[in-house]
Structure formats: C-alpha cells, structure tokens
Symmetry: none
DNA sequence: TCTCTAAGTTAACTAATTATTAAATAATTA
DNA sequence: TAATTATTTAATAATTAGTTAACTTAGAGA
C-alpha cells in the first residue's frame, strides 16, 4: 500500500500549522484533507472516510476532544485513527483525550521528521491488522495489551516481555500453527540468533502460567494456541 | 459581542511594535490598551481588567514571563488570556511561557493577518466557555492540575515540574503501560535528550512521595500507574 | 519394537534492565 | 550573587529475564 492511498485529515484553526503539516505530508505523498474547525472536520470525515485524523486540541467553538467524540460517534468511524496535537504544557488535555480514544499525542512544537515518523507508525497499525481493541478474549482468558496483563478468570498473570509477545503472537490467530521460524522472526527478530530450545522454554513457561492445554505442539512444524 | 467590547492590552518596550499592533487591532475595532513595561502592564491590567494581554517576552527590567506570573497572581486575573510575543519559535522561553500559563505564542516577525486571526481565535475561546480543568481523583489521591498540587489524604505534596508532568501522564490512564520512549517524548519533549536513568530517578521520587506501590515497573516495556 | 529426531525439562549461566545513591549541573529564587 | 531547589548523570548494586547445555522423553516411521 503506497502512501498516496492513505487519506489523512488535518484539523486545525491556524492556517500556518495546517500549511506546515500538509506540506510535510504531501512531500511524503500522502493524500491530505483539511478542515479548519470541528464542524468542518466532521463533514469531511463523513464524506471522505479518512484513515487517520490529526486533530488540534485547542480550537475555538468545538475543541479537539469534542470533535473526536462526535467523529467516533459516527457509524463506521469508531475505529478511525485519531492523533491529537497539543502544546506539551496542556497536559491536562491528555486525560480527556485518552478517554475519548486518542491513538497518539503529538506535542508542539512539531518537528517534521518526528511528525512524519509518528504518522507512519500509526498507519502501520492499520496494515498489520493489529486489532484496534487492545484486549483479546478467549473464554476466561483475557489479554490486555495496553496494561500488559493477562487475566485468567480473576487472576492477574504477569508475563515478562518475550513471553507476553509470544503469547500475543500465538493468540493472534487461535488454532493457527506458527512455525518455529516464524516465531523466531516475530518475537525475537531477524538479527537475534537463539538456539532452538529457547522457544521450548518459553512455551513451557506459558504452559505453566496460563495452562497446559492451551498450547499444542505440532511436531516437526511448530506450536498453536487453542481454547 | 462586537470587537469593540473586547479590551486588549499590548505590552512591549518597543514603540514601533506597539504602534504596528495597535494599528492593526484598532482597524478591527478592538479596544486597545498599551503599556511599555511590566510594571505599567500590571497597573493597567488591574485597573482595566482586559480580556486579553499580549506580552512581549523580551523586555528590560521585568520580562514577559515574570510579568505574566504577577498578573496571574492578581485576584480575578487568573483566567485572563495571555499571548506571548517572541522572536524565535524554537526559543526555550516557549516552555517557560507555557508553564506560566500562556494561552498562545506568537512569533516575530508578525504578519498582520496572522496576528489578527490568532487574536480572534483566542477571544472566541472566551465565548465558548471551555472551562480549564481540573482535578483528578484516585482513591485518596487527588491531583489538582491548576494548582500543581497533589493531595494524598490530608497531605499536600508538592511535586516539581517534571515529576508532576510524569505523574499526570501516567495517571492519565491508570493501568496503561507507558513506554520509556513515550514518556520521554511527552514529559521531556523531542528536543531534549536525557539518559534513561533519568526516568528511573523521577519514578523513584514519585514512589517516595506518592507511594511505592502506585507505580509499577514492566521490565523491558515501561511504567504504569495503578491504584 | 527399535531408532532417530524433535521436543520437554531443569538448573546453571549470562545478559539486560532497573534501582539506588551520591555527586555534578542547571535553574530558580531570595 | 548566594542560596536553594530541581534535574541530570554516572557508578554500581540488585533484580529479573533470557539463554544454553545436558539430559530425558515421546512419537513417527522403518
């Protein structure tokens, strides 16, 4: 998917910021839409169904938070990516922002390179069909990615980084067999070289902590998560 | 409400800038007041209770930041809109300015059209009574963001700037893990480069002051606030 | 059933990350 | 300017995570 296939809606009341941001996004060949206030933003969003909306928190009439709330209320816009722009000192806005479902917070002053890389990071989320919801549920097992906690019934299970990543990977498609090779690539990364037993050990830990029969070995192939 | 009902106080030590700004504001029919230094500004502000004060950051004797602080300390002036004028946009004074409660930052050189639209945007905020918040509560912990004070039961805990910001960030979404990277970005900003241990030290201070078990370490990932 | 290979199990080992200090800078205030 | 307070760093301790190695077990196919 090339950048130009992504529609990004910029919302700010200040012309110079709009210009600055859209210039930088266009340079990267994104498709840029613009709105100068909340009302306009909602209209454009409804009509154009952008992939990502960049909203200034401070705007006259209808501020970013409110605009966000209304956009999220539109049918089909629940999962649109929304990033807020705010001055760092206005950190009070963060609270409201997170409640409304901000996907990112970008602080002013904005540096082009940082801005672009944040935008790209957000859009990457769309592709790697990382489900928007940060929690996964399987029977009485719940994985809260944001909190980095696994719940089994009432119990909170705390997994260290690699175990957590491994679990998230396997559970991302229950029933599917993940090859050792693929697991290594996803959890450990290409650069890292670890022995074969390492995966076993991690699987073992998961079996201990989560439950033996959630993790099935397919000999000669790999592992899968079942529930 | 027509423009003439808005009183705007301009504070700058340079005559030509004062003249230039007031000319443009008067053309829009705003009521313009003028002061040439901080002391005068405070007097006029007290007497006239303007809606908006435009303050040059760089002035002899008492600079804009200091003047702002004193004006905000006057009774009934806590919520007056204050916009700073300064030469460079990347100036470190921006940060100081926002700390003191700047509502906007206008950088020189000033273009009439931009200036006017910024002023109007600010004043529009007066009408759309966006209340500046607020306090957050978690159990017996209360964060008063306006006063910059944290209460734990009866005790007032005074946190320095960075610690306060860090606390506000973490508490903005209890339970959520904030990565070190994100924390750096939000609390310290993109420009500033500080070592990783700096975060640890600040977390430690918070643990000391607020309570050990409110702050949880997720090794390899980040920190979270829990209550 | 035997054999061969992949996977499981441990505990020791190693590496990585965070915690804790105290001391050095920097910023603010008096 | 001195004094105070805040912030950052640097060194090192502590802790936790991750890996390996040696060995055991299990299972598919001859």
């Amino acid at each position: 998917m090339s950048n130009s296939e992504f529609k990004i809606l910029l919302v700010d009341d200040e012309d110079d910021i709009l210009e600055f941001l859209s210039y930088n996004l266009r340079k990267e060949e994104f498709t840029v839409l613009i709105a100068q206030n909340g009302k306009q933003a909602i209209e454009v969003a409804k009509r154009e169904q952008p992939h990502l909306i960049v909203l200034d928190v401070m705007m006259p009439d209808m501020d970013g938070i409110e605009t966000c709330r209304e956009i999220r209320a539109l049918s089909g816009m629940k999962d649109v990516l929304i990033a807020f722009l705010s001055a760092r000192s206005e950190d009070y806005t963060q609270i409201a922002g997170f409640e409304v479902g901000a996907d990112d917070y970008i602080t002013k002053p904005i540096k082009p390179r940082v801005f672009i890389s944040r935008i790209k990071a957000l859009l990457r989320r769309l592709q790697s069909n990382t489900p928007k919801s940060e929690t996964l549920e399987f029977g009485n097992i719940r994985i809260d990615k944001e909190k980095h906690i696994v719940y089994k019934g009432q119990d909170e299970i705390n997994l260290p980084k690699k175990e957590f990543r491994l679990f998230v990977l396997l559970s991302s498609k229950p029933g599917k067999v993940f090859t050792r090779e693929y697991i290594l690539e996803q959890v450990w990364g290409d650069e890292v070289i670890v022995g074969d037993r390492t995966i076993d050990v991690h699987i073992r830990k998961l079996r201990e902590k989560i439950g033996d029969d959630y993790f099935k070995t397919i000999k000669g192939v790999g592992y899968k998560f079942e529930f």
